[in-house]
């Protein structure tokens, strides 16, 4: 009997179960038609339910499969992978906060490996200068260039004049780099060459790390990893803030009037050339309690999709130990698939439904901010706001590009991802079933926000949508009504889905009854 079971069990599977059996990470190919109707086959990686296209153009990843032999796929790594995959998919800069050793870097590297993307690193320390990120003028002659770079990287020994020039650059939040004149003055102050010879040194602009990453692989861009961002000096953060505040992440570095404006050609180049832009940015940081780390300004936080992750719970800790040598698989939570299902609601074409979705986002942002204001925060804790438009816009994007089978469920997930995730990112994985001691201090706040969300969407005190007949509906009921009106096929498909499940359940139960009788007979 037991030998027959696996084969017989195939009969009981619903399509969702079949998909789930592939595990949280798998690759697959899809045929797609381009704008001209030409059919092409594209490869995708499904990572914790998020579909990411595998890069097939230009430079690929630097990682090899064997580098991930010790990478344990557990709840925490799955949580980090999901968080990063969503940010990469939606092209939203992610700032992932979490203690050392939970696997933030490894998760990003694994994602880069799975999707064949090149990853470039920038680690931050108190010594990281804005010119390391953006760039500077350097002499063309190699040994003079090295000497000049060394001058800039060893500030302690500089003359007062040079220190003043550098301080002025640090203080001015509107400037990104030293002008050519300033570079010449520094070279002169520090005795780099005879003053009459200085200009003959052919000073050229050299891109810093961030510009290089944006322009990587002939302008396609690569993935950028800002490691230990919290260790950066405030003046560096102010300048990074400005880059993102421009919305398009286009950098104009016009530090010298004699030279043309230097621009990172992202993203205009890609749209003009019809090329995909592959530049993505993920930053990680330790919690503010760590040495050398002070909380970020709220204004800085809002530029990012900021998420906070707790340390490992005992179960995950053990799972990681059990993986080594034995590759024993950890118990994983249920995966939600975010691909566009049949019956996907195009919110751009359905303003009534979109408005209802927006009402939830707006109501939640304002009400959650009131709760945030009423909570006491420990000294040095990272502060943030819920009532920023940036989070609301990000939530809108999520609703359009990561819509699951159920619109209301997708909305709840999006709000959990962008809002509650700032308190505890692994809500999905811990909130419902697992008690995590490290999570306790956040648990009450998370529960409050969860109740608020439920109340707004479907509770008796949430917003009511008036109907023509004088009755009123909750937002959830109103959305469901609109969705059914929009496409009767959806209602039909929902019913079919339910029937499929029932059918599978019935067959399973009949089978087990038969099995039981057989066993009893023996």
């Amino acid at each position: 009997m037991s030998e027959k079971m696996p084969q017989d069990q195939e009969l009981f599977k619903t399509p969702e179960e079949e998909q789930r059996e592939k595990g949280p990470i798998f690759k697959f190919a899809k045929k797609e038609r381009d704008e001209k109707g030409k059919e092409t086959k594209k490869e995708y990686a499904s990572v914790a339910g998020i579909e990411l296209e595998v890069n097939k153009e230009g430079e690929g990843t630097q990682f090899k499969e064997e580098e991930f032999q010790d990478f344990s796929l557990d709840k925490k790594s799955l949580e980090l992978l999901e968080s990063m995959a969503i940010s990469v998919k939606l092209d939203q800069p992610l700032l992932q906060e979490g203690p050392t050793d939970i696997g933030k870097t490894k998760a990003l590297e694994y994602l880069a490996y799975l999707t064949n993307n090149h990853l470039l690193y920038q680690s931050f320390s108190g010594q990281t200068d804005v010119s390391d990120l953006i760039g500077k003028y350097v002499p063309a002659i190699e040994d003079v260039r090295i000497r000049f770079e060394n001058i800039l990287s060893n500030r302690k020994n500089l003359s007062e004049d040079t220190k003043t020039i550098l301080r002025n650059l640090d203080k001015d939040s509107k400037r990104f780099a030293l002008t050519l004149d300033e570079c010449l003055k520094i070279a002169q102050n520090e005795g780099l060459a005879d003053p009459r010879e200085l200009e003959k040194l052919q000073w050229n602009w050299a891109d810093g790390e961030l510009l290089r990453q944006m322009k990587y692989d002939r302008g396609r861009g690569c993935w950028s990893y800002f490691d230990e961002l919290g260790a950066a000096e405030p003046q560096v953060l102010v300048k990074i803030n400005r880059i993102f505040s421009q919305g398009t992440r286009r950098i104009s570095v016009s530090e010298n009037s004699e030279n043309p404006t230097i621009e990172a050609i992202y993203p205009e180049w890609h749209s003009q050339a019809g090329k995909p832009n592959r530049f993505r940015i993920v930053a990680t940081t330790n919690p503010p309690s760590y040495a050398g780390r002070i909380p970020f300004e709220k204004d800085f936080i809002r530029r990012w999709n900021y998420k906070r992750s707790a340390g490992l719970d005992e179960q995950t800790f053990l799972a990681r130990l059990d993986w080594v040598g034995h590759q024993r698989k950890a118990e994983l939570p249920e995966i939600k698939y975010h691909e566009k299902p049949e019956g996907y609601i195009d919110l751009d074409k359905n303003p009534e439904i979109d408005h209802l979705v927006n009402r939830v986002i707006a109501e939640f942002s304002i009400q959650a901010q009131k709760k945030l204001d009423s909570w006491e925060w420990g000294q040095g804790e990272q502060e943030f706001r819920f009532d920023e438009m940036s989070e609301a816009f990000r939530t809108q994007q999520y609703m359009r590009k990561l819509q699951g089978r159920d619109l209301v469920e997708t909305l709840k997930d999006a709000i959990r991802y962008y809002y509650t995730g700032k308190i505890e990112a692994n809500l999905r994985f811990y909130f419902k079933d697992v008690k995590n001691e490290k999570f306790e201090e956040q648990e009450d706040r998370v529960k409050e926000l969860e109740s608020l969300l439920e109340e707004i969407i479907s509770g008796p005190t949430g917003p009511r949508i008036k109907q023509i007949d004088g009755s009123s509906l909750s937002i959830q009921e109103a959305i469901e009504k609109e969705v059914k009106k929009l496409n009767p096929e959806i209602a039909k498909k929902e019913l079919e889905g339910e029937l499929q499940k029932l059918d599978a359940e019935m067959r399973k139960s009949e089978f087990l009854k038969g099995d039981f009788r057989e066993g009893a007979g023996k």
């Binding site: 690193y121 320390s125 010594q127 390391d132 090295i146 060394n150 990287s153 490691d227």
Partner: protein
């Protein structure tokens, strides 16, 4: 040469116990990996202890190169040394002579500590090129410095670069 535990050898300026600890330190760097990654080591020595003498305690079958880094040099010099050590599959002992550790060098040490890769761009002989170099399984890097010098490093996250740390004071 024989000497009692607690008595310092004039050659190494170390007690027998310190020598044993140093052997254990090098041995653990050699044999123990952390989730497939090889750690960077840190040795805090006294001013009198010579890095060349410390290197003698590295397991016999391993070839070691020593590099002395100071503000007279540039980050690229250090990176070229690391690349050479990796190419020759040796261990590298890097003595910080005056606490100078520029951001470019720290970045690469950090990268080595988190994923055993070097990612260098625009090195003198490879201008305009990016090179991604993986630390071979035979190579290890150990930073060496005396307490006074190491205390000059003002990078708050500096100590997080390392796995095993030994203080020979």
């Amino acid at each position: 040469m024989t000497f009692n535990v607690g008595q310092k050898s004039t050659l190494n300026m170390m007690t027998r116990e310190q020598e044993d600890n140093l052997k254990t330190f090098f041995g653990s760097l050699d044999r123990i990996s952390n989730q497939g990654l090889y750690d960077l080591g840190l040795i805090t020595k006294t001013k009198e202890q010579k890095t060349e003498e410390l290197a003698k305690f590295v397991p016999k079958n391993i070839k070691v190169e020593i590099f002395k880094f100071s503000s007279k040099l540039v980050a690229d010099d250090l990176l070229k040394f690391i690349i050479k050590v990796f190419e020759e599959k040796k261990w590298g002992l890097i003595e910080l002579e005056d606490g100078f550790l520029p951001a470019k060098a720290y970045n690469q040490l950090r990268l080595l500590s988190i994923n055993n890769h070097l990612q260098v761009f625009d090195l003198a002989d490879k201008k305009g090129e990016e090179a991604d170099i993986k630390q071979p399984k035979e190579s290890r890097l150990i930073i060496v410095g005396n307490e006074e010098v190491l205390s000059k490093i003002k990078i708050p996250t500096f100590l997080r670069l390392f796995g095993p740390i030994i203080n020979l004071k």
